[in-house]
Symmetry: C2
Subunit: 465 residues, 2 copies
């Protein structure tokens, strides 16, 4: 459209509206305490059965002769291939299976004001890989195959608001990485769109304030990974009078971490991946470490199609994802790790202080727990925040991680950490998230918790005069 | 280092210091009018001879048996391979040779105040591909091979300031793309480092204000591509009271352009690239369009090594790179094109309004001149800015483009342009440049011109009260 006036480059008032929503611990539409019952009700209303099957029972999926890559006959959805990754210094090289899905999916949340407070439309949605199948999900969670109708299922509800964002106002819209240790260069489009008009209701959807979602983020396996990723992109803005490092220094450090080593990832045939073996039910590492590639059959009543089979990637143990938190001059900082992952577009993104190990990590099979933080392991008994969350249940089976925010002190988490780690403020993470591919999906989950948590704002004595 | 206080997230006063430097049309160290003579003097002082050779005379370089890829025996530097690229809608697929150089080089400029005005240390440096060999270059221009000593030449002067940026203050440090139609996912590290102490002088280096560089950018082939790319990253900040689109809308549009099509680029053996042929002297397209891969021998006296041979990519004709410029309510806007290029990390970056065609462009062999702008072709006779610049002379032979900024009007360049084009302010481009991989190298060249040009600031009636 032609504009006859200029707009401010940054929407005034939006940050305050998000803050108000975060302060609203109950909403207009459903009471927070009723949410577990509502999810149970939706689960009861829908058929959703998942069972493991041997690869031979996969329908449309097969191991390609020669390469051994696991792919769908249509050439769409995703495939499981091999990757060979290497660093130059210190030299490290490894091979692993990896999910290849070059298409960009949409993760979108609709926002709308009720009684002057922003609410977000969340879906009670089941995913085959999640132990607790029905969780709070974004309004829309659609692969490109979904919405270009490759599997000819039912239409994706509310998708038009995101395909034609002119029906509303864009609040956030950015490409973000997914798990860099399990996906090869996967991006999803994370969107928040505000509408001012009524949205047709549906029994599987409810409107929540950010404060409500913050409270629900304290329940195990209740807010799914895609929802957490989108909420990390919310334009929250708590005034920060300063930070241990300027934004320029922070960006320079990330650039240095991305540049200082040569890191290469090449796709190779799955059949050629060394130390990984295939039997009737799984592709697995000889040591049984890391993860397995397995197959499931799903019967569902509220999905685009009601019956399907698919591969899933199943980690062998529960993960751990933790941010260490300290207050410097009243401003909260978390300890970020510039973490290299084989599948990331730019190799390095900011991850949490602690994240479960992946193939290729220096000490395989254990979390990449920085040695200097070992003494604080004991603190996990009394974390500032600690909840179990599921990873993406559409690709990962029983993939749960314990998400923690742990308050730390100089003795155990020094202001001057070793190379590869740096204290950053939530505001700095939010600025980076706005431009995409800077903050990994695990760190974004914890940022979503911080975004919905009034307690992590800077101390009021540092509010602007 | 441990910090005992917090720092402001964004350095106060830096924008003003850059503005003062841009206003300084002459400097403390060398008069602007003396620069052509100084460059001629450096050229006279150094031996620099380039001659075409047949591939058979390349030393250490050869076409790999089987793949036909052109590579160095050490496995380092770069290689020329093939690429197969495709869009899904509208469907388009093509193949081409492409330069593969996965390492990240450093393009760095030292800054220092003289008499209270920021100056920038520029090198008179020759590149084998440039018709005018000696041009103003960044202080340091080093591939990883250079500084990890693969070709065992002389040390790269001033490199330590960039490898250990703690010797100075980081002003800019960001990874940026190179030519996406000629390079496969090439990034360079663009840095500006300010020092407060004396820097050892050298006859090939001089300090310039930003205003001086702005004046020199009006001379053909005087400021090289790497210098232009780094200067585009300068933290200039002219207050902009608004823009035709908010930053959120702009980011959303870029995300949409990156998401709406499926775009794949795969590397293939050079020998398999259809429609491209090899003879003793070149790899070229059967139609003789686009570019050729050729070989040269170089003898130089001030380079890291004094004699070498290498392949270069030679475009068949001079390029054209143009931004259309309009003022909306006193604020300058340029018309950006969300341009897909086979070699870019995220496929789409913001390019200039007009850019020479590449393999795969809809109308091969002609500039991608948007049809709706055709009438303004006549305006090129009287552009706001028009200068011929060289592309990267270390990889490209005789690659020159005419860089233009053309003032346009509603009749020829409407406020509401067709899909794929959008009016953006220089400030919006600068914000995007800070995070990397958003603005392509051609558009960055023109942004460097704008950064050094006081005339493109918003009209004073829109300055802050």
């Amino acid at each position: 459209m032609v504009r006859d006036q200029l707009y401010p480059r940054n929407s005034p008032g939006l940050a305050e509206r998000f803050a108000r929503s975060a302060d609203s611990v109950d909403g207009t539409c459903i009471r927070t305490q009723d949410v577990p019952a509502w999810l149970a009700d939706r689960a009861a209303a829908h058929r959703f059965l998942v069972r493991r099957i041997p690869f031979a029972e996969l329908d449309g999926w097969s191991f390609e002769p020669g390469s051994g890559n696991l792919r769908h006959a249509s050439g769409r959805f995703f495939s499981v291939q091999g990757a060979r990754a290497s660093f130059d210094a210190p030299h490290r090289e490894w091979q692993q299976p990896i999910i290849v899905q070059p298409e960009i999916g949409i993760l979108g949340i609709l926002a709308r004001e009720f009684n002057g407070v922003l609410h977000f439309l969340m879906q009670a949605k089941a995913e085959p890989g999640n132990l607790r199948a029905f969780q709070l999900s974004p309004t829309v969670q659609a692969t490109r195959s979904n919405y270009t109708r490759v599997h000819r299922g039912a239409d994706v509800r509310y998708l038009d608001y995101f395909l034609q964002p002119t029906k509303g106002t864009v609040i956030a819209d950015v490409l973000q990485s997914e798990h860099g240790t399990w996906f090869y260069r996967k991006s999803n489009r994370n969107m928040i769109i505000e509408v001012r008009e009524d949205v047709p209701p549906h029994a599987d959807y409810q409107w929540f304030t950010l404060g409500q979602i913050g409270a629900l983020l304290c329940h195990d396996n209740m807010v799914n990974m895609d929802a957490r990723s989108v909420l990390a992109c919310a334009p929250i803005e708590h005034h920060e009078p300063g930070a241990l490092w300027s934004d320029t220094d922070l960006l320079s450090w990330i650039t240095e971490e991305r540049s200082r080593r040569e890191f290469r990832t090449e796709r190779i045939p799955l059949a050629k991946v060394t130390n990984w073996e295939r039997d009737d039910f799984s592709v697995h590492h000889r040591s049984n470490q890391h993860f397995r590639v397995v197959a499931v059959a799903v019967e569902a009543g509220n999905r685009e199609v009601t019956r399907w089979t698919q591969p899933l990637l199943e980690p062998v143990q529960r993960g751990i994802v933790a941010f260490f938190l300290r207050w410097f001059n009243g401003v909260p900082h978390v300890l970020a790790h510039a973490r290299a992952e084989a599948g990331l577009h730019h190799v390095v993104e900011l991850g949490p202080t602690v994240q479960s190990a992946a193939p290729g990590d220096a000490r395989e099979g254990t979390p990449t727990w920085p040695p200097f933080l070992m003494p604080t392991l004991m603190d996990l008994a009394r974390p500032y925040y600690g909840t179990v969350h599921s990873e993406e249940g559409g690709r990962f089976l029983n993939a749960e991680s314990r998400y923690l925010i742990v308050e730390a002190e100089e003795a155990t988490a020094p202001a001057n950490p070793p190379p590869g780690y740096r204290w950053v403020t939530p505001g700095q993470l939010r600025t980076l998230v706005r431009y995409g591919h800077y903050v990994n999906v695990q760190a974004r989950s914890l940022l979503a918790v911080i975004n919905a948590s009034p307690a992590l704002r800077p101390h009021p004595i540092f509010q602007p005069l």
